[in-house]
Each structure stands twice: as structure tokens, then as C-alpha cells.
């Protein structure tokens, strides 16, 4: 008898695949060498461990299957919600609470002022719209052309700037015309994030909003356009 023969027979028995003669052979081996019983029990424990651990280890290293497309939007939303702003140290939590109280007070005061001043304000001039597209991953199968033309269709008078890096886009986003007498709005279509961001300035105030491209870019652009109209017609 050698170790290999015992292990082959033992693992078959543990897996329930041993034939009657093989089972009898294993029983005979253990009867002649009682010390093998301890090894058999160790092998049983190892087999159970291997059945549990190995599939999980191989799953961790797997390269398939592919992620379903519908998951992307939900996951990117989670990234924005969770990592959209830098983490706040615990020590600052109290300070942040006070800031919120101030902001709430300020918002209430602004609401009261707006309520009385709005009727007195005249309607604003049409907004100046600037449009940009960020495409860090690169275009695929003409999709960028379709998207650019959709942007052109939505804002006919605007030029569409294309960016492949976030630094250049950031410079564009932070460059605003001085002393403007009409609303200025920047529209950014971020292909990788699957979102349309609106950044606006009017009457000394800034506003931003992000629209997720959940199904159709055209629908999202219409939502963005309505939002701009609502914010700049006040």
C-alpha cells in the first residue's frame, strides 16, 4: 500500500463515489493500518474546507461573466452619492451641523425676500448657453456623432466643445464671462458618468443640477432644457 492509493480510495469514499470493492479495499487498509483512520478524518475535514473555499477563491479571480448594462447607471449614481464630495472628519461634524443651521436660516430669509421681490422683477433676457461633451473613454461606433448632433439640436445657437480630459473641462467649467446682463448656463454631457450637468449663474447666484442619462439622451436633454428655462425665466 502507498499513500497515493489510500488517498485516492479515501477521497472517493468521502465523495460517495467508491464502488463496493473499493470501499472494501479501503476498510481493509484501515483495519491493517489503524493510524490511517486519523488521516481519513483529516482528509474529510480538508475536503469540506476545499468544497467551501475553492469555489469562492476561484470566483474572486474569475474574469467572466460580463456586467449587465443596466447595472451601470445604478452604480454610477451610488458613486456620485457616496464619493461626490470629500469625506468629513468626525471632529468637524458639530461644525457642519451649525453650518447647516446657518444655511437653513439663510435659505428661509432668501425665500421671504424672493416672495416680496419677485413681482417687482422684470423677465430676464434669453440665457447664454455653452455646451461641452467629456469623452474620456473615446468614441465608439459613431455614438459620439449622434450625441453631438443631439446636443446641437437641443441648443441650436450653442457651440459644442469636446474634451477628452477632466483638467481641460474643469478649466472650461470655471471660466465665466464677466458682467453679464443675462443668465449664463454651462451644459456638460459626461459620457463616462452617463450624466448631464447644468451649471448656471444669474443675478449673482449660482445653480447646478445633474441629470442621469437613464434611458435616452434626448429625453435627458429635454429635462435639462426645461430646468434651464425654469431657472432663468425668474
Amino acid at each position: 500500500m502507498n499513500d497515493d492509493q489510500f488517498l485516492d480510495l479515501a477521497i472517493k469514499a468521502i465523495a460517495g463515489r467508491a464502488t463496493e470493492p473499493e470501499r472494501a479495499e479501503l476498510d481493509g487498509l484501515v483495519a491493517r493500518h489503524p493510524e490511517l483512520m486519523a488521516e481519513f478524518e483529516r482528509l474529510q475535514a480538508d475536503a469540506r474546507l476545499a468544497r467551501e473555499v475553492l469555489p469562492l477563491v476561484s470566483a474572486t479571480e474569475a474574469t467572466a461573466p460580463e456586467m449587465p448594462a443596466y447595472a451601470r447607471g445604478r452604480l454610477q449614481t451610488k458613486v456620485r452619492e457616496t464619493l461626490g464630495r470629500p469625506p468629513v472628519p468626525e471632529d468637524d461634524a458639530l461644525g457642519k451641523l451649525w453650518k447647516w443651521r446657518w444655511m437653513l436660516g439663510l435659505a428661509a430669509a432668501m425665500a421671504v425676500v424672493a416672495l416680496f421681490l419677485l413681482p417687482a422683477l422684470s423677465r430676464s433676457a434669453p440665457p447664454m448657453i455653452q455646451v461641452a461633451m467629456l469623452d474620456t473613454a473615446g468614441a465608439t461606433r459613431g455614438s459620439d456623432t449622434n450625441e453631438t448632433s443631439l446636443l446641437h439640436q437641443t441648443w441650436e445657437k450653442a457651440t459644442v466643445d469636446s474634451f477628452t480630459g477632466t483638467d481641460a473641462l474643469h478649466a472650461w467649467e470655471t471660466s465665466w464671462p464677466a458682467h453679464n446682463r443675462r443668465p449664463v448656463v454651462k451644459v456638460v454631457f459626461d459620457r463616462a458618468a452617463g450624466e448631464v450637468r447644468i451649471l448656471g449663474r444669474w443675478k449673482g447666484e449660482s445653480f447646478t443640477k445633474t441629470f442621469l442619462v437613464e434611458q435616452d439622451l434626448a429625453v435627458t436633454l429635454e429635462q435639462a432644457k426645461s430646468f434651464i428655462k425654469q431657472r432663468t425665466s425668474q
Binding site: 476561484s58 457616496t82 461626490g84
Partner: protein, 208 residues
């Protein structure tokens, strides 16, 4: 993203992978996450599938997505990119176990009489109850991730494939030797070392 040629420690196939940039992920860079999610998906999906496939196969994708969402919340705690896959796999595993427990509890609570054996029979599977005495099901997620990481780094090729062939595929020493072109006595050596590695990492609790 840095391209790197990596070697799968378990299956021993060289694969081209794109390692995500951890700092970009921690900053919430949408483009970095867009490339990381498909890279992490097989680990999340596979870990959920290991537990749920025989009982709740329709839940596998949902658990995988939830696990990736949970990973986003934890990403700022990580120190190296190598921790990403073990972490998401451990999250997916623990969520799958919780989902299965809830389902068993609900099934019993509704007074349904079907037994685990009946469910297994209906699903055409023959596997032990994963919730009864499983050494993995009782591990906290952090400990599970650490042990997975350790296994991936210490289970040297070709120990993983040989352990799999012996314990999961039921091949004999001779069949394994023929399949991989090793001398028969080398199979015994690899198997012995692989078993020792598994026992050392997974056979103890609460020592980490």
C-alpha cells in the same frame, strides 16, 4: 488605469488585466469606476453565485450589484488595489448567505412544508446545507476578505488547480498527473502543500 500582465493564482492562466487606479476610485472619478465595475463584476457575481445558485439563482445579479454598491462605501478604507476583489467577493458572499437565511426563515414562517432536501431535489442539486456549520458563513466580512486575500497570495500555482481537481472534480493522482503533465509524485507534493495552506488560513478562527 495601468495595464499589467497578471497570473491567475488558482487557475494558472495568464490574463491581461487592467488594474484600477485606487486613488481615482477613492476620489469618486466616474471614468475610473466605469472601468473598475466590469473588472470587479465577475468576483461579485461569482461569489454570490456560489451560495445562491442552487436555491435562489434569480437573486444572484441583484446581490452582485448590491455588493458593488457596498464596495463604493468602503473604498476609502482600502490601502491597495489588490484588496478590491477579495473585499467585493467577501461582501457578496456574506450578503448571499444573509439572503438565503432570510429566504429559509420566510419559507418556514409561511408554513410551507418544503424541506431543504426537497428544494435541492427540485433544483436538481445535491449539496450540503450552506447554512449549517459552514466555516465561511460564520466569518465576519472583514475576516473573510483578509483570508481570501491571503489565500490568493499564498496558494501558489499549480496548487489551486490540483486541489480543485482532487477535491471538487474527483480525479485520482494518476489522472491529475496526466492532465497537467506532472510526475505522479509531484501531484502528492502539491496536494500536501495546498492542503496545509488551506488548513493554515481557514482552519482557525479568531486569530487574525
Amino acid at each position: 488605469m495601468d495595464r499589467a500582465l497578471a497570473c491567475d493564482p488558482v487557475f494558472w492562466h495568464p490574463v491581461v488585466v487592467q488594474m484600477p487606479d485606487l486613488q481615482a476610485l477613492q476620489r469618486g472619478d466616474a471614468a475610473a469606476w466605469d472601468m473598475a465595475f466590469p473588472w470587479l463584476w465577475p468576483a461579485a457575481f461569482g461569489a454570490a453565485q456560489v451560495t445562491l445558485q442552487p436555491y435562489l439563482p434569480a437573486e444572484v445579479e441583484d446581490v452582485a450589484i448590491e455588493s458593488l454598491e457596498a464596495l463604493v462605501e468602503k473604498v476609502r478604507e482600502l490601502r491597495s488595489v489588490e484588496e478590491l476583489k477579495p473585499l467585493v467577493a467577501s461582501i457578496a458572499h456574506n450578503r448571499a448567505v444573509s439572503r438565503l437565511r432570510e429566504w429559509f426563515t420566510k419559507t418556514r414562517g409561511e408554513g410551507r412544508t418544503e424541506s431543504l432536501e426537497a428544494v435541492q431535489e427540485a433544483a436538481g442539486v445535491d449539496c450540503p446545507d450552506p447554512l449549517a456549520g459552514s466555516p465561511l458563513a460564520v466569518l465576519e466580512q472583514k475576516e473573510l476578505a483578509e483570508r481570501l486575500s491571503q489565500t490568493l497570495s499564498e496558494l501558489k500555482p499549480p496548487q489551486g488547480v490540483i486541489l480543485t481537481d482532487f477535491f471538487l472534480n474527483g480525479l485520482s493522482y494518476e489522472e491529475i498527473a496526466q492532465k497537467h503533465g506532472f510526475p505522479k509524485n509531484s501531484v502528492g507534493v502539491y496536494l500536501k502543500r495546498g492542503r496545509e495552506t488551506l488548513r493554515r488560513i481557514w482552519g482557525r478562527r479568531g486569530e487574525n
